[in-house]
Symmetry: C2
Subunit: 338 residues, 2 copies
């Protein structure tokens, strides 16, 4: 298909702001590069529950409750909860939503979910339909591994292109009132599929979607890569990031040192994560720790946050399908810019 | 939890309109009560594909293409595709989205997805973020049965409270331009769980969520059941509808003859569907056949369309969880009302 890029970006006039945020991670992530920045590190990766899946739900609950508290709000102030996750029928999000007396709309963009929920949430706040919404997502190494790959007990060897699903959840409160970094625009991505069929090479599968979204974004906003203090992709990992840099160079865009990938920065090199971190929680916890903190202090003025998702299921892989990707992006600017 | 209902309804000022719609169903649905109203009846429930799952994807593609054509538009005019379905990681929607050169945002509300996507789509059009969006969903008896219940080859006996997943897909084009029924408001539902653990009794699991959404809607809009020509629930089925009528009566609202359930009207009594139809495609194809046609001709002036979803997965059931439900609603009014 000949792809026309552009006209994918929505500009916000009414300054939807991130007035509260929270990140919670598991023990392995808590030993990684960003350990000083997370809101909470839990040492029990069951999160006090009997199963990992119930634990993942508790992560979302704690992230949401932490973000509401960070915004100095009560749950009565939250008018809509937008959330999704990797588990079948997004049960982590839906069962978390059951706990609260707020309307809930489930979303799904695989590991692009943090950006998707922020983009939709910003639209709803900007359009005046909701004063305040909450956006969240999560992933858990053990729930993802046993749902998508192999039983944990097998201890399967991991292929060299594989990534490590982050155990973590991030949540944001977006509001037209209050104070915080501003979401100034959102670029909604198209689904891209370059025919990758290796389900252990998600970075390669998602890189084309990331390229399309970045190019559409730069065209729509008439910006260049160097106009951002940070361009952050979600979980392309080491290989996927390199592919993205190459693909962008082919199209005439040079991604410089301001380009980083959450999957590459969350873990340390000696943590045996091969190509890096992945999962909805990867970009969600990086955004909701170091990135938002630096936007708030003014160290970053303008960040392009683009989360990337691989839209497969075990069944689509079993039926011989390749892996389509999607990437959504939001621009977040420090309030001090003004 | 004490539940506060109300402040869940968003009112649209800029008249987002349904300017195109389409419904496609399988052979069994094509022998049901609404056979004259569907846009397309396909006799091959593989939809020309090798697997039912690939077939379900083709259904969404045909529904989307049909709706775009019905709106007299080309795909260039569609700025965002909002879709979700019952399959793990909503692969029917995501793989369908791969075929088109338009941005895609996945949504998930189980069988409430048609209403959720219409509600979000109407917000995005009303807020001026997108001129025209497409909303769709699907379900397929054979893909749902083998994913959620038992292999088709087993021919398991069905419990008396069970429902029959509709093979069908519906799509709508919402736009600020053009002509068609107007979405005047949307009520976003809260998750409700009354402790039903029988996964063969979805109607009972979803009825409480439907009650909460209806009451919130009536409060927010200051309307009564008799103010609508039709109040349509998604797929509560015979038992779930009766529970809803009882629950509403307890709360002081009398649902009269203008209340109907898509699951109860789509099939004929002699089609051996027990409590009736279910699945995302149930409400989607009923809305996008008889209901929109009657709104267009003026036979209906004001319809309250509320789709209901059960937010479980096979794993949540295996881990002993009860089944939470959610219901979202939109009011659709004929253009001739004005």
């Amino acid at each position: 298909m000949k792809r026309e890029l552009g006209q994918q970006t929505v500009f916000f006039k009414n300054k939807p702001k991130i007035i509260g945020h929270y990140s919670i991670v598991g023990p392995k992530e808590g030993k990684g590069n960003l350990r000083e920045y997370f809101s909470e590190i839990e040492q029990d990766d069951f999160f006090g529950q009997k199963t990992y899946e119930k634990g993942e739900r508790v992560m979302i609950e704690r992230a949401l409750e932490g973000a509401v508290k960070d915004a100095n709000l009560s749950f009565d102030d939250i008018k809509l909860f937008l959330s999704g996750d990797l588990l079948n029928q997004i049960i982590s999000s839906s069962y978390a939503a059951r706990k609260y007396d707020i309307p809930y709309a489930g979303v799904f963009g695989a590991c692009s979910t943090m950006a998707e929920s922020l983009a939709l949430g910003a639209c709803l706040v900007d359009g005046g339909h909701f004063e305040t919404v909450a956006c969240a997502t999560s992933s858990h190494f053990s729930t993802a591994e046993r749902q998508f790959r192999t039983p944990l007990e097998l201890g399967s060897q991991r292929p060299p292109t594989s990534q490590w699903t982050v155990t973590g959840s991030g949540a944001d409160i977006i509001s037209s009132k209050g104070s915080g970094p501003i979401i100034t625009c959102a670029t909604f991505g198209k689904v891209a599929d370059f025919g990758i069929t290796d389900v252990n090479n998600m970075g390669a599968a998602m890189a084309p979607a990331a390229m399309y979204t970045l190019i559409a974004h730069f065209k729509d906003t008439k910006t260049k890569p160097e106009d951002y203090d940070l361009i952050l992709s979600g979980d392309l990992g080491k290989l996927g990031s390199e592919i993205l840099i190459d693909l962008m160079e082919d199209k005439g865009y040079k991604l410089g040192l301001n380009y980083k990938d959450c999957g590459q920065i969350i873990f340390k090199r000696n943590q045996n994560v091969l190509m890096g971190g992945s999962g909805c929680g990867c970009s969600a916890t990086v955004l909701n720790s170091i990135v938002l903190k630096k936007l708030i202090t003014g160290e970053y003025k303008r960040v392009l946050f683009m989360a990337t998702g691989a839209l497969l299921s075990t069944l689509s892989a079993q039926q011989g399908e390749s892996v389509p990707g999607v990437a959504h992006a939001v621009v977040i600017e420090g309030e001090k810019n003004e």
